[in-house]
């Protein structure tokens, strides 16, 4: 909303700089987004008066003007304007002023000069030289009683505050609404605009009628009839006011309605009464197939949901948005019907979206939900302005169809509540002063209460705390006290999934992986790609940001792999990423099941191009190492079993991950055919865990083992087993012995002299007791037990060393 300060000053005075005024308004809730200045700085350009005009001695087309400019001596200037005359008040540019050069359109400094032998000590300006317009046929004659020598900027220029209203304050879409804010913020008072006019004896109600078929869509419709208007240009002050607020002047009738819309925030519309069939108004929903030619020249086909203003036969306006072309005010119009109505915001919003691109000044205001009580105030004001600017006479009374009239509640707020919410108690005088300046009528109910009611231009004073806000924001939030929270700290929830998620982030970032956070929306194709054997159903978005990615992710894989691929090009050597995030599973009839997942992806080379260092591709066992360290780091006993039933992973290089026999995820090489769909190249290894399933399986009471003070005995154990036997099973069996503290697999060998179909596995076994030093016999006994068990369970043979 553009608020020109000259217009604002008609209703309220203030003694603040523009910046200070804008700051106070913003702090109180009417946010000033920018301060725009019309006109230039116009330094050294002042108000002057032409005292005398004489012919130029050496040129027919030039004359000499003596200009009084508030300085000591009048100055003589050479001027070629045909409209120059003695007695004119003009814009006088002194030597040194920067004026717009007509050829370059850039400012140029004015110098003292001789024109045809006569010295010229300045210039009388046209609009073009001031940068106001391209007008340069004559000089600009000012209509001002400002003292000579007053800077032109004080007279001609204007400052416009661009205010961004919040949705609860449609009154901030009006100059008067802002004036009330200024009054309250500066201990001032608003000068209410005039809204009285003489009425003819004949009654408007006898000449027309208003019928509302849809009271929900139109809670109120008022009509005033004005006869004998002469349509023509509106007066200059009105045109200037509209232009300064960004609206184009049209004619005195339309300009008056627009003026009142900007002044009060209530849109109005004037119909050519003579064009209305049966001279009456019907507010109804459109008929199927009904057409309407609008003021902007467009032709629309109305929908049955559109609210229209109609006469006895056809639609004549799209309610609250735009008038129709046929009933438009024309030069021949003599009688007008002035509409001031209230329309339901949702209905206006639907029609606006259907028929216009950006809406209109009217629809923007109706969409903010106006108070129907405002209609009458605005109607009377507009009638007064129309009669002032276009002549004519109003028939008596207002035709007022008001099916949506509501009781206006008195809001009673006590001083204790004000103090309870604001933390301080302003005086009765301060409180009532604020409310009165805002136009909120108020009474003092002894001993400690106020009774107030919501004014017609607002709808947001309904409960006591609404009044408290008015007082608090005008006093200024920065002037309210500040205190720490009192009282006991409340009990806290424990969320094991949340705690585990954070722990996983810490462990994995500590292991050198980088955390990523990706989007929650994916495409159905992407989900299919990461679940080649058929994925689970997903939740579909009605209006996704990207029409292809219209599913909520059921897997972290698509964005994870895509991010991996994106980074491969730029990362020299290995890449290790992880994400901890939610996936969303449909739950028909209820809210989605949201599960927390971990996806870690690694690939590329370990320590690339490093002198003397180990250089090899990262492989399955690097991923598994991450899993094992993660297990240590979060206290989970991960077990893995050959082959995950997951078609996105290579069958020979994948495993299921379980804790206490329950599946919690998978690990393995991503099938190159899957990875390549996301532009991830080479071997990528994935670790995917369900944090939601893992969280309940870990935690609980922890007893940290005390290190044994007795020495360990270490022995190597080489075993020959069937080649297909997973080493993990053998290792687990060795660990099953009570004296075994730790086992490391340090060699895997097949080939000569081991028989075909067999392999040799060499383990280093650490034996230790918590309560004694083990003897050789103890160790031997334990070893024998282990070998016996491995022989019977797996057919393992000791290899002769």
């Amino acid at each position: 909303m553009d608020v020109p300060l000259k217009w604002l000053a008609q209703y309220v005075d203030w003694d603040l700089t523009v910046e200070a005024l804008a700051h106070r308004l913003s702090m109180a809730g009417a946010e000033v987004e920018s301060i725009k200045r019309s006109g230039g700085a116009w330094e050294h350009v002042v108000v002057g008066r032409v005292e005398a005009v004489e012919p130029h001695p050496n040129a027919d087309r030039l004359r000499l003007a003596t200009v009084e400019h508030g300085g000591n001596e009048p100055l003589q200037v050479v001027c070629g304007a045909p409209n120059l005359a003695a007695g004119q008040t003009i814009a006088f540019a002194q030597v040194g002023a920067a004026l717009i050069d007509p050829s370059t359109r850039e400012p140029r400094k004015l110098r003292k000069g001789k024109i045809r032998g006569v010295t010229s000590m300045g210039m009388i300006c046209s609009e073009r030289e001031l940068g106001l317009s391209d007008e340069h046929e004559g000089i600009l004659v000012l209509d001002t009683d400002a003292a000579l020598g007053t800077p032109l900027a004080d007279v001609l220029g204007d400052v416009v505050l661009d205010i961004k209203p919040t949705p609860n304050r449609p009154d901030h879409f009006s100059i008067l609404g802002i004036a009330r804010e200024v009054a309250a913020l500066t201990d001032g008072a608003v000068r209410e605009p005039l809204d009285s006019y003489p009425e003819a004896p004949a009654s408007a109600g006898d000449r027309t009628s208003v019928q509302i078929d849809d009271p929900e869509g139109c809670p109120r419709y008022t009509a005033i009839l004005i006869e004998g208007v002469r349509v023509g240009p509106s007066p200059q002050w009105m045109q200037d006011a509209l232009s300064s607020a960004g609206m184009r002047p049209i004619n005195n009738i339309v300009d008056s309605t627009n003026y009142v819309m900007l002044e009060w925030g209530q849109p109005l519309h004037a119909f050519d009464f003579g064009v209305l069939r049966e001279r009456r108004i019907v507010v109804r929903r459109a008929r199927a197939g009904e057409q309407l030619a609008l003021l902007d020249g467009s032709n629309i086909e109305l929908q049955p949901d559109d609210l229209v203003i109609a006469d006895a036969e056809r639609a004549v306006a799209l309610a609250g948005i735009m008038g129709g072309a046929e009933s438009e005010i024309s030069d021949d119009t003599t009688t007008i019907l002035l509409e001031t109505a209230n329309f339901q915001e949702a209905s206006i919003r639907r029609s606006r979206a259907r028929h216009t691109e950006t809406g209109t000044e009217a629809s923007r205001r109706f969409e903010k939900s106006l108070n129907p009580e405002l209609c009458e105030l605005a109607a009377r004001r507009a009638a007064a302005l129309i009669i002032e600017t276009a002549g004519g006479q109003a028939l008596s009374g207002i035709v007022d169809a008001y099916p949506g009239k509501k009781h206006i509640p008195q809001v009673v707020v006590g001083q204790p509540r004000i103090e309870q919410i604001l933390g301080l108690l302003p005086s009765v005088e301060t409180t009532r002063g604020i409310l009165t300046a805002l136009g909120i009528s108020n009474r003092w109910l002894p001993p400690n209460r106020y009774s107030v009611s919501c004014p017609p231009w607002r709808s947001d004073i309904n409960v006591p705390d609404d009044v408290v806000e008015e007082i608090g924001r005008i006093i200024g939030y920065d002037n309210l006290p500040s205190e720490p929270l009192p009282g006991a700290v409340p009990e806290h929830d424990i969320d094991p999934e949340r705690i585990l998620s954070e722990r996983i982030r810490d462990v994995l970032s500590g292991l050198g992986l980088r955390e990523i956070i990706t989007y929650a929306a994916v495409s159905a194709d992407e989900l299919d790609a990461v679940s080649p054997d058929g994925g689970s159903p997903s939740i579909q978005l009605q209006n996704p940001m990207n029409t292809e990615r219209d599913r909520m992710r059921t897997s972290l894989r698509p964005w994870g792999l895509r991010t991996f691929g994106l980074n491969q090009r730029e990362s020299r050597g290995g890449l290790a990423l992880f994400e901890v995030g939610k996936v969303f599973l449909p739950n028909p009839g209820g809210l989605a099941t949201e599960r927390r997942m971990l996806l870690a992806l690694i690939g590329g080379d370990l320590s690339p191009s490093m002198h003397g260092g180990e250089q090899r591709p990262l492989d399955f066992y690097d991923a598994k190492g991450v899993l094992e360290q993660l297990g240590h780091g979060v206290g989970a006993e991960f077990a893995i079993a050959q082959h995950a039933a997951d078609a996105a992973l290579s069958p020979g290089q994948s495993a299921s991950v379980t804790v206490a026999g329950q599946s919690v995820g998978v690990i393995g090489r991503v099938e190159p055919a899957v990875a390549s769909q996301f532009n991830a190249e080479g071997d990528v290894f994935a670790l995917e865990l369900s944090i939601s399933e893992l969280a309940p399986l870990i935690g609980g009471a922890v007893t940290v083992a005390s290190p044994s003070v007795y020495p360990a005995a270490v022995e190597d154990l080489a075993l020959i087993v069937d080649e297909s036997l997973p080493a993990g099973e053998l290792e687990a069996a060795i660990r099953g012995n009570g004296l075994v503290e730790d086992v490391e697999l340090f060699d895997v060998y097949s080939g000569e002299p081991i028989a075909d179909g067999s392999k040799s596995l060499a383990f280093r076994v650490h034996y230790r007791s918590p309560d004694r030093t083990l003897s050789e016999r103890d160790v031997e006994k334990a070893r024998r037990g282990i070998v016996r068990r491995l022989a019977s369970q797996f057919g393992a043979e000791l290899r002769d060393s």
Binding site: E469, R514, I517
Partner: protein, 338 residues
């Protein structure tokens, strides 16, 4: 007595003696001979005061310089001998080191954790809520019914109707629905924050993303006032941005609070909006089954990415979810503890 001092001669004599010292004992003997309390150079230095006045400065300065040089030469000879005694070859210490990988937390995680920790220090609980919400919780119960002008403040991404006849669902546009959900299961005193992802149907540019992370806060107890809102949020901002930060509270509008406000901080000369806040609307307190004349409180919400942009000087919000490793690597130096 005039003393002729041949400093050059002394130096060459000392250096050749040093070159023949081949073990630690010999080095110690040399040090005692030359630099010890009765060493030859020490003696020269002591004798300077007996020199004619005009000779003292030149000889004194020269002798002191020589003392420093001989000390350096001794240290170098010691290092040579130590190196000669070890077995291995001398390595080029300027070759690059082998770097263990340094992982990183995502900047949004880092900032979220700092914010959470700050509120936890102030006694706040931390809970999360669903990303996919009921329209009722995201809007209606927060006093934003269908058709309300304030709904325009949040451009919404809706869940497609699955024909199950269930209520309308959406991607939550803010974390505020958790105010209602938390109130359903907890009694005052309430002091909680809710971090989580939110979604807006909004074109992305340098300052807007369609997915964002918010932290919501709710505090309800007996007789809490706007003064407690100010005190709490000022404390948060001071801990987050440093004690010198300037703050201001501006009137703003959110349907579920009254009075409503926006907290701004002065950042590099400009006022920047950091969070929206206000006193919890009495209807929300009554809807939770509480007496709004007794229980009052405040709520607030802020964007984590926005704060992260301030903290780390990130100019384009789109960097966060693009996850370019070159960007993520910049955060190696930060370790945000949970």
């Amino acid at each position: 007595m005039a003393l002729e001092v041949d400093l050059d001669g002394l130096e060459s004599e000392a250096r050749s003696a040093l070159a023949t010292a081949n073990d630690a004992d010999a080095l110690e003997d040399w040090r005692v001979d030359w630099l010890g309390r009765r060493g030859r150079l020490t003696t020269v230095l002591r004798g300077v005061r007996d020199l004619p006045v005009e000779q003292r400065p030149a000889i004194g300065a020269g002798a002191n310089r020589l003392k420093g040089e001989l000390e350096s030469a001794l240290a170098a000879r010691q290092a040579e001998l130590v190196a000669a005694e070890t077995d291995g070859p001398t390595i080029d210490v300027t070759l690059p080191g082998r770097r263990p990988p340094l992982g990183s937390l995502h900047p949004v995680t880092l900032t979220r954790r700092t914010m959470e920790r700050t509120f936890r220090d102030l006694g706040f609980d931390v809970v999360e809520g669903p990303d996919i919400e009921l329209e009722e919780y995201n809007f209606d119960r927060l006093r934003i019914p269908a058709g309300h002008p304030a709904r325009d403040m949040w451009d919404t991404i809706w869940i497609a109707d699955d024909d199950s006849g269930g209520p309308r669902q959406l991607l939550r546009t803010h974390t505020s629905p958790m105010q209602i959900r938390y109130l359903e299961r907890r009694e005052p005193p309430i002091r909680v924050i809710v971090p989580g992802a939110c979604y807006r149907y909004e074109a992305t540019d340098a300052t807007h993303e369609w997915m964002l992370t918010q932290i919501e806060g709710l505090v309800i107890d007996q007789d809490l006032s706007f003064a407690h809102l100010k005190g709490t949020l000022e404390a948060f901002v001071r801990r987050m941005f440093g004690g010198e930060i300037e703050t201001r509270f501006r009137c703003d509008y959110f349907p579920f609070v009254e009075p409503g406000a926006e907290l701004g901080v002065r950042w590099q000369g400009d006022w920047l909006e950091v969070l929206g806040c206000g006193m919890v609307h009495p209807e929300i307190i009554e809807d939770a089954g509480l007496d709004s004349s007794r229980y009052t409180g405040f709520a607030f919400g802020m964007g984590v990415e926005r704060v992260a942009m301030l903290q780390y000087g990130v100019r384009d919000i789109r960097h966060f979810y693009r996850n370019d490793v070159r960007f993520l690597r910049e955060f190696d130096r930060f370790r945000g503890s949970a």
